[in-house]
């Protein structure tokens, strides 16, 4: 039970005497959402919401008052979170919780909610106070930084490994090449040629990974060179995906050295996200085609198409909204595409969604993400 014998009441009493409306002004002007629920009624209906509540949720006060605040919950709201809130209310304990809520227009937002029972001076429960803050943007920023750190670590680690691998692969390829012509038996020659080919492929892969650690992922350079960076990122993403998904690329009709105004880590983050989504869409069994083309002098486009189930036209805007994809996949943070879009928008680029490759049954089309980017070559 809170100690109400302090002199806070006296101070407030004094304050109100000087400015009778000050407490009301504080509640009305608070940048955080403040709501009050009536404990005398069984379902704790809201009896007050401040203007910040309307700003955050889109619900005007007359739409909110008289209702229990569970109307903010929606299909992807975690039921365990809801149960914890209910338990805290039953126990008359305060609670701090981050819960997925929905605005009036259906847009999900991450709500940092604090609820506390308010006891009057005599110790009687007199109201429930709710303080809320929309932390969606903070989460987006955190997600971006987290992925970036992860990629940098991955770049450093895979680069160190690739360097060692290169030193081991060079003798394999070189010595097989050296003695291959001396082998008279064509069948043995064919076997050794396959061994040499594999060593060569491994060396190629290793070189691509090496590029990741060679400053590309750590430097602060604000430009990324294509198609090199694209090839490096695809090598990396291929290691992350099952071998059952087929990634096809076509960079033939572009100049060898194009540049876009973005740090390579961020670029890789966007690419990895979209390619991984495409792979998931095909249940890791389909085809992903990645093409790079120069559209005009000042722009270039990277398209990633898959032959998965595609995305309904009506959903195409929604998938870039935070937490939307969470309802589609339990494993998704729901922040990957919103972060990707933010990164691309920040450099003056856009992401266009359209129909991708024809589906295996020949009836429909998968999805195509096109990154339309400034060309600073």
């Amino acid at each position: 039970m809170p100690d109400s014998s302090n002199d806070g009441y006296a101070a407030l009493g004094h304050l109100i005497k000087g400015a009778p409306d000050l407490l009301k002004s504080i509640l009305e002007g608070s940048p955080d959402t403040i709501s009050v629920s009536d404990v005398s009624q069984p379902d704790l209906p809201l009896t007050y919401v401040n203007p910040a509540f309307t700003k955050t949720t889109g619900y005007a006060s007359d739409e909110a008052l008289g209702r229990n605040c569970r109307f903010l919950q929606g299909e992807s709201t975690n039921r365990d979170d809801v149960a914890r809130i209910r338990k805290a209310i039953e126990d008359q304990k305060p609670i701090d919780i981050i819960v997925l809520n929905y605005k009036k227009d259906g847009e999900p937002f991450l709500n940092a909610l604090r609820m506390a029972p308010i006891f009057d001076k005599s110790g009687r429960l007199s109201a429930y106070l709710g303080i809320q803050r929309d932390i969606t943007q903070e989460r987006l920023r955190e997600e971006k930084e987290k992925t970036q750190n992860r990629l940098e670590t991955l770049g450093t680690a895979s680069g160190a490994l690739a360097h060692q691998l290169n030193n081991l692969l060079h003798p394999i390829e070189s010595l097989i090449s050296l003695h291959l012509p001396d082998i008279p038996d064509p069948a043995i020659r064919a076997d050794l040629d396959m061994a040499r080919y594999s060593a060569h492929q491994a060396a190629d892969l290793s070189n691509n990974l090496l590029g990741l650690s060679r400053g590309e992922f750590q430097n602060s350079s604000e430009s990324t060179h294509l198609p090199d960076a694209l090839i490096r990122t695809i090598s990396l993403v291929q290691l992350m995906l099952p071998a059952t998904v087929s990634i096809q690329t076509d960079f033939r009709n572009v100049p060898a050295d194009l540049a876009i105004p973005i740090n390579e880590t961020l670029f890789a983050q966007v690419l990895i996200n979209i390619i991984t989504n495409a792979s998931q869409a095909t249940k890791h069994l389909g085809i992903i085609r990645i093409e790079l083309k120069k559209t005009e002098n000042t722009r270039l486009q990277i398209s990633i198409s898959d032959n998965g189930p595609g995305i309904e036209k009506s959903d195409r805007d929604k998938i870039f909204k935070p937490f939307y994809s969470k309802s589609l996949s339990k494993n998704s943070s729901g922040l990957g595409l919103p972060v990707a879009l933010q990164i691309i928008n920040n450099i003056g680029g856009i992401i266009i969604l359209s129909e991708g490759l024809i589906q295996p049954d020949g009836h429909g089309y998968g999805c195509m993400f096109t990154l339309d980017l400034p060309n600073i070559t």
Partner: protein, 122 residues
């Protein structure tokens, strides 16, 4: 046929390069670090020295500068695949100012043999 000194700290890499050079008809002496390479180079004459750059103890860059500062020294090839976090281009930047040729690892046997031929035929 040329007398070649090959300096590389990675034994399998050195072995493969030496085998390629020997098969092409050259005589190869191997050294596992820069200091040993310089000691051998001071005791006899070589047409060509091929040295790795990033090595423990005496670095290949020192080898290149030491050999090229002497009058009538051998031709020198600097080679590197870089190191963790250091691109080959960067590792070869300084030695390339003095060396007669640079080889970026990994290179093919053909590139190695062509480089040796170009430097020793003149």
């Amino acid at each position: 046929m040329c007398q070649i000194l090959l300096i590389d700290d990675m034994q399998p890499v050195r072995h493969a390069i030496a085998a390629t050079l020997r098969k092409a008809g050259h005589e190869v002496v191997e050294a596992e670090d820069g200091q040993k390479g310089l000691d051998i180079a001071s005791s006899r004459t070589f047409d060509l020295v091929i040295t790795d750059i990033m090595m423990p103890a005496t670095d290949g860059t020192d080898v290149v500068f030491a050999l090229k500062s002497a009058p009538a020294g051998p031709k020198v090839v600097a080679m590197s695949g870089g190191g963790a976090g250091i691109p080959a281009k960067e590792a070869l930047h300084l030695p390339s100012s003095q060396a007669d040729a640079v080889l970026k690892k990994p290179f093919t046997n053909e590139v190695l043999i062509d480089t040796v031929r170009d430097l020793t035929s003149s």
